[in-house]
């Protein structure tokens, strides 16, 4: 039952990279009641080789609070034993991780659904903005919000 599980919760916004294994262990260590752990790692793509780096700007303070609100909503919706969200800001090179979501639960369905929900809402609600720096002389520019991301978030409102 969701009520009797202590939900371990970690939300961090940081410049440095993260260690998925260590973050997962922090949720699962010492527990033998868990049946499922899902991790999602969002990586910086090279966009066919043209991207030199991604610069991620964020709203300090609000970023943590907004992620916290999305995490609370996920915990209301699914019986989760643990949730971790780590989001980076600053300069990120292709191949590096940007965002981590870990969900732990008794059964697989809630871990999958909650992780997917968290990512959809981080995309549309968490105050982060990506700017592309290109390998060539051109400066790149701000990444536009995707209608597909809004649609992905909308599907949880049914």
């Amino acid at each position: 039952m969701a009520e009797t599980l202590a939900t371990r919760t970690v939300v961090r916004v940081q410049a440095e990279t993260f260690d998925t294994a260590a973050e997962t262990l922090a949720l699962t260590e010492g527990r033998t009641d868990l049946g499922a752990v899902v991790t999602f790692t969002g990586l910086c793509r090279d966009e066919g080789g043209v991207l030199a780096s991604l610069e991620i700007e964020h709203y300090p303070g609000m970023a943590e609070e907004e992620i916290g609100r999305v995490v609370e909503e996920a915990k209301q919706r699914w019986p989760l034993a643990g949730v971790t969200v780590v989001h980076r800001f600053g300069l990120i090179k292709p191949g590096e991780p940007i965002v981590l979501v870990v969900t732990a639960s008794l059964h697989r369905t809630e871990a999958f659904e909650a992780a997917s929900f968290l990512m959809d809402f981080l995309k549309t609600k968490a105050p982060f903005w990506k700017k592309q720096h290109l390998s060539e002389a051109s400066s790149g520019g701000w990444v536009g919000a995707k209608q597909a991301d809004d649609a992905a978030a909308e599907r949880w409102k049914a």
Binding site: G42, I56, E57, H58, Y59, G61, M62, E65, E66, H87, I98, V99, M119, L122, K123, T124, K125, A126, P127, F128, W129, K130, K131, W142, V143, G144, A145, K146, D149
Partner: protein, 83 residues
């Protein structure tokens, strides 16, 4: 109150934050956008498609019809692209 600008809103206005003192008649976020748009070329450019601009009052998302009331901090930014 403190105004914060992010991403291309910040770039167009040319600053990340400032103290603003809007006149009495400015009650809502939309009113404030209207007033800020008249504060110079950069502001006008930042808010030219004001439908696309998102706002937060004291670090929580709000719509343009939200009342500013006693908010200490308002932020303007484009749609978010994190994750």
């Amino acid at each position: 109150m403190k105004a914060l600008y992010f991403a291309w809103v910040r770039e167009r206005i040319g600053k990340a934050e400032e103290e603003i003192t809007p006149p009495q008649g400015v009650k809502t976020v939309a009113d404030l956008i209207g007033w800020l748009s008249g504060q110079g070329e950069g502001y006008a450019l930042a808010f030219e498609n004001n439908k696309t601009i998102r706002a937060a009052l004291d670090r929580a998302h709000v719509k343009h019809d939200a009342a500013i009331e006693n908010a200490r901090e308002i932020a303007f930014f484009p749609p978010m692209t994190g994750g």
